[in-house]
């Protein structure tokens, strides 16, 4: 028997009951807002990336479902000529951990809001943010923080400057560390270095609340990003008046997690003292066109495995059922 094993979590009575309760509460919340469940197969036969759990089924290389959004997108693109507008999912994904403390089997509940290309997407983004705002109450989380970001704030300037892919990757890695000095180091004497460094400093400005957007005034790309800024401003004005008491809302201009996937507004849910985000999502308008469908989409995923861990280590963050 191997003595060094990956982290496949076994859930004992309390955690198993909590998982069942949370899945039920979140799926009921999503159903109440018109999201219908789809359940893509646990076994995928399409090409899969590094990090998926792969094995041979006879002569066929297959993989366990490693991401619900990608699995659902494949299913939708294959089976539906028109997109169902609201889809929900619940279950496990299997992914090789990047960090040793992460589990390989992860439980998730999430949703996708899909629209034909050209339809106005701003309301769909706000709809998802409102839905995510209701998640802490459904989970019995006493306090939570919702971060609003926008992948385009970094993506568009990098595209405008036509940086080589490796250099763009280094800039994104520096921003992921929230280190403007690393952005400067990475760009060296590249002609765009002064502009992109000033932009990084603007994105990392330590402001709070709606004023955070004013930091973009100092960016050399302020005009380029005027549309994104207006979108975020409208979202803030729509969300702040209905903010639940247990929730703080913050603007995170330097959110670059998943930048190769997200194309627009992003959402992250944190709890005070949590070391990992508890839910994450955003707009990803390039996935369906890559699969041959002219659709745009956004969604979010609640990471129940992280919540289960948090309930064990910080029970004070949760209401007792």
């Amino acid at each position: 028997m191997p003595v060094r094993t990956p982290h496949f979590p076994d859930l004992l009575f309390g955690s198993a009951a909590r998982l069942r309760r949370w899945e039920g509460a979140l799926m009921a919340l999503l159903a109440a807002h018109g999201y219908r469940e789809l359940h893509p197969s646990l076994v995928l036969r399409e090409p899969v990336p590094e990090g998926a759990l792969r094995f041979f089924d006879g002569e066929d290389l297959v993989a366990l479902r490693w991401d619900f959004t990608v699995a659902l997108a494949g299913l939708l693109a294959r089976r539906f000529p028109e997109p169902p507008d609201r889809v929900a999912y619940a279950g496990a994904v299997f992914r090789r951990p990047v960090q040793p403390w992460e589990a390989m089997e992860r439980f998730e509940v999430g949703c996708e809001r899909i629209q034909p290309e050209g339809e106005i997407s701003a309301e769909a983004d706000v709809e998802l943010a409102r839905l995510l705002m209701a998640v802490p109450e459904a989970l019995g989380l006493r306090r939570a923080i919702l971060h609003l970001g926008n992948a385009a704030l970094v993506r568009r300037p990098l595209e405008a400057e036509q940086l080589p892919p490796d250099l763009a990757k280094a800039v994104v890695a520096a921003l992921s560390r929230r280190a403007a000095h690393r952005v400067r180091e990475a760009l060296g004497d590249h002609p765009a270095a002064p502009r992109l460094t000033a932009h990084a400093e603007a994105l990392l400005a330590d402001l709070d609340g709606p004023d955070t957007l004013k930091a973009l005034d100092a960016s050399p790309y302020a005009d380029l990003l005027a549309g994104e800024r207006a979108h975020m401003d409208r979202a803030l004005h729509a969300l702040l008046p209905i903010l639940p008491e247990r929730l703080d809302l913050r603007v995170d201009l330097a959110d670059v997690a998943g930048l190769d996937f997200y194309t627009g507004p992003t959402l992250r849910l944190w709890a005070p003292g949590a070391q990992q985000e508890l839910a994450a999502g955003g707009r990803y308008d390039r996935l369906f066109p890559e699969l041959g469908r002219p659709w745009q989409a956004a969604g979010f995923c609640v990471r129940l495995s992280r919540l289960l861990d948090l309930a064990e280590t910080r029970p004070d963050l949760f209401e007792q059922p």
Partner: protein
Amino acid sequence: MTAPVLIAFPKGRLGDELVPRLAGTPLALDAAALKSRVLRIPTATPGVSALLLKGADLPRYVAAGVASLGIVGSDTLDELEMDLLELADLRIGACRLCLCAPAGITLEDLKARPHLRLATKFFRATEAWLAREGLTAELVPLSSSVELAPLLGLADAIVDLVQTGATLKAHGLVETALLGRSSARLIAARGAILSEPGRIRPLAEILLRALT
């Protein structure tokens, strides 16, 4: 219930340089505990403790969120794939990462060898330099006393940090190429900054004021 805040400090030369600078600040380390063998040291602020860790291990404690803040050399950060935040370049503990060879052997001599062996613990930085130079080499993993390797025939040259150059000189080695520069960085756990900025940012500010 509020979890205690842990700040990770490096042991060794960099730690020796940092710790005295915190004297008189709210994050001053308890002098009696420092003299003992304990590795978790109370600070002048209740609920905030310091961990004394080996530099190579320190980023892992911060990335896992065990320590909320930490100080470590950028050379160590660059060798690891850790998801953490880098709040500032403290501009102390400055070093050069250099290719060093026995005196009399030039970079061209090394490049001309059919099989180059380099002893180092800085694999990523060395591989990046080799790629930039269009070279290939065998990397000999050594974590300490690396200066001995060329003298004893274990490697042709070394890639290591150089601060004053005194150790190199003592072993008859000279710098033949500059691969990069390193300095101490203030790092933070992503979760600590994004989920508790009101608690962690003021501590980071204290460190910045004391150390820069």
